[in-house]
Amino acid sequence: MAIALTESAEPPAQVPEDLLLEVSGRSPWALAGRRLWRNRIAMAALGLFLLIIALSLAAPLYAHDVAKVNPFANNLSGTTVIDGHRVPLMQQGGGVLKLGETPIGPTWHLTNYFLGADQQGRDVMARLLYGGRSSLEIGVGSAVICCVIATVIALIAGYFGGVVDAVLSRLMDVIWAFPVFLLAISISTVLLTEANGLSIGPLHLVATSLWLPTLIIAFIYLPYVYRPIRGHVLSVSEKEFVQAGIAQGASDLRLIFSDILPNVVSVVIVLLPLMIATTILTESALSFLSIGVQPPNASWGTIISDGSDLLYTRPWVAIAPGIMIVLTVLSLNVLGDGVRDALDPRAKLRVEAG
């Protein structure tokens, strides 16, 4: 799906620019921060996102102290207490012929299989929280890595131009030309089917490491971040204050870091929440297809996959992780919109309705 890099900020009112002669003494960052703070919806979204992170980080706490389960161990013959009765986790009478087993459904008690059990008798709620950890680690990690590397490459290509730019941009074009999802599938398939994982010289990553999906996802989105940042670097490089710096004899490194980078950072900051949203969705899709997070690790995507066999009997196993993904991605999208509006230099011309 085409990444939303062409969406533009809320357009300004028709006040002609030259009418705003107000000179306030604050830095643009402070102004943007103030604007973002005042955007209640964006702040609520940020709060929701942080809450989800907190819940996911609390997974071990929940598993050990609240629910007292091990969410990674098969528990097919386990039992639990519901309404005073001791019941087996796997109930008789599942499947079409009613000869199989069906795990118990939600008990809606926080301490006791809140969302029920899955086919392996594991506590779905606890797995949900652990899954959140994996999904968020991979999502945030890959987005950050992608943005950092893409920015560095874009700075180099945009600043130095010429052959350097040509080579780097062509490289990015090659990755871009490859359909993003198919690229992810190809690389993941190859790397994950080797039981020994990936070994390149001294580097060794096991197939179950979360680093594999993280790096793969960071890699496939490089061109999507690289292009807009490079465009921005090019336009900033041509501005007069950079020319002035060159005339003063500043070194390349200094120019890149103190003149160009600060002006480009705002583009990255706007992209970041949207990229995290994208990477989380991508990871969940790859995990759903079993080429993302590998067992015994769980992520929201793998749990949905587990739950698809139980869909008609115990729908909550598949539905709950999806709801978590929707809430997380939604909050990131809203936050991303808010950040973009706050950093919009024309924002002075807008006013809250009413």
């Binding site: 006040v15 002609p16 030259d18 002669l21 107000e22 924002a347 002075k348 011309l349 006013v351």
Partner: protein
């Protein structure tokens, strides 16, 4: 005596923004008669564009509020319905804008855009409208009009594009043409051509013209009457001769004094108006020009009314007594001609 075409009465336009209410136009009144050319001069932020765009109600900003009346041929444009407004726009009052590159739709051919305007107001066939478009392109001086009528805007140079805009604006023979800084975005050599074109066409079509500019030279060239705006208000208005040779407001003096003249004997420093234009959110109480005015005195704490002080059709908004104005004016505009002065700005 020519008919009065347009009368703007106490127009006020404000915008609500994050930082407060911007009073872009703060009580502006003037008239335009049939066939006359009114030049509105002012610096950026004086409210001249907003005034004329409000006349055509082209400002569609939910944060804008409008007060006052705009009487055109007997009707108040501020209160007519959308259908009447559309009928006036383009056929009675037409407008050309500052940047011809962005003012023409890039995806349609220029002939199509001109025809669109014609057919919006008159019952003309496509063929007929296209023929008219070619005639208009010829009238504005575009070579090979029959071929160029099918070109896109990006295929024209800046000056040519502005000619296309003029052709489009005049396509329905409007009684009033508003030109918002038509030459600002063009090279100086092209500027003269465009102004000449406007002058020629207004006579041919019989239109009145309101020319907005920040350039006194442009006004001197084309206008019959001049209005000087500052901080959303008109500070001086009169015939071209009166405003240029008999200026009554210190701001006008400053503008005139800052023009380099080659016909003066002695070289001198250009008079600069010290200070910055005021914030339109926090307008100074009293005379808006007060904080920057070298002539300021106690009375300036009250807002001066725009009134005829020197002659019946030459109004200004300054409290200064007319009798002492002359010497002060000469000192400001051409100090080198005043006997016994040093090289000082007033």
């Amino acid at each position: 005596m020519a008919e009065q075409l347009l009368e703007v009465r106490n127009l006020k336009v404000s915008f609500r923004t994050e930082d407060g209410v911007v009073r872009a136009v703060d009580g502006v009144s003037f008239t335009v008669s049939e066939g006359e050319t009114l030049g509105i001069v002012g610096e950026s932020g004086s409210g001249k564009s907003v005034t004329m765009m409000s006349v055509m109600r082209l400002i569609i900003d939910p944060n804008a509020t409008f007060e006052g009346e705009v009487i055109y041929k007997g009707r108040d444009l501020m209160s007519v319905n959308q259908a009447e407004l559309r009928q006036v726009r383009g056929s009675e009052i037409a407008m050309i804008f500052q940047d011809p590159m962005t003012s023409l739709n890039p995806v349609y051919r220029v002939g199509w855009q001109i025809s669109e305007q014609i057919r919006a107001h008159e019952h003309v066939s496509k063929h007929g409208a296209r023929a008219r478009a070619i005639e208009l392109l010829q009238a504005v001086g575009i070579p090979h009009p029959a071929e160029r009528v099918d070109d896109f805007p990006h295929q024209f140079s800046g000056g040519m594009r502005q000619r296309v805009m003029i052709a489009m604006a005049l396509s329905c023979s409007p009684s009033l043409l508003i030109a918002d800084e038509p030459t600002t975005a063009l090279d100086v050599t092209i500027q003269a051509q465009i102004l000449e074109l406007i002058r020629k066409l207004k006579d041919e079509f019989g239109s009145a013209v309101v020319l907005i500019t920040h350039d006194m030279g442009v006004v001197a060239d084309v206008a019959d009457r001049v209005a000087v705006m500052y901080a959303g208000r008109i500070v001086e208005m009169g015939s071209k001769h009166d405003v240029f040779y008999d200026a009554e407001h210190p701001y006008t003096w400053g503008l005139l004094g800052s023009i380099a003249r080659i016909d003066r004997p002695k070289p001198r420093r250009l008079t600069a108006i010290r200070g910055l234009p005021p914030s339109l959110i926090n307008l100074p109480s009293g005379c808006a020009f007060g904080p920057r005015c070298p002539q300021r005195f106690e009375m300036c704490d009250q807002v001066p009314e725009l009134a005829p002080r020197a002659a019946f059709d030459h109004t200004d908004a300054c409290h200064l007594d007319p009798t002492i104005k002359r010497s002060r004016r000469d000192l400001t505009i051409h100090p080198e001609l005043v006997e016994g002065t040093n090289e000082q700005s007033a």
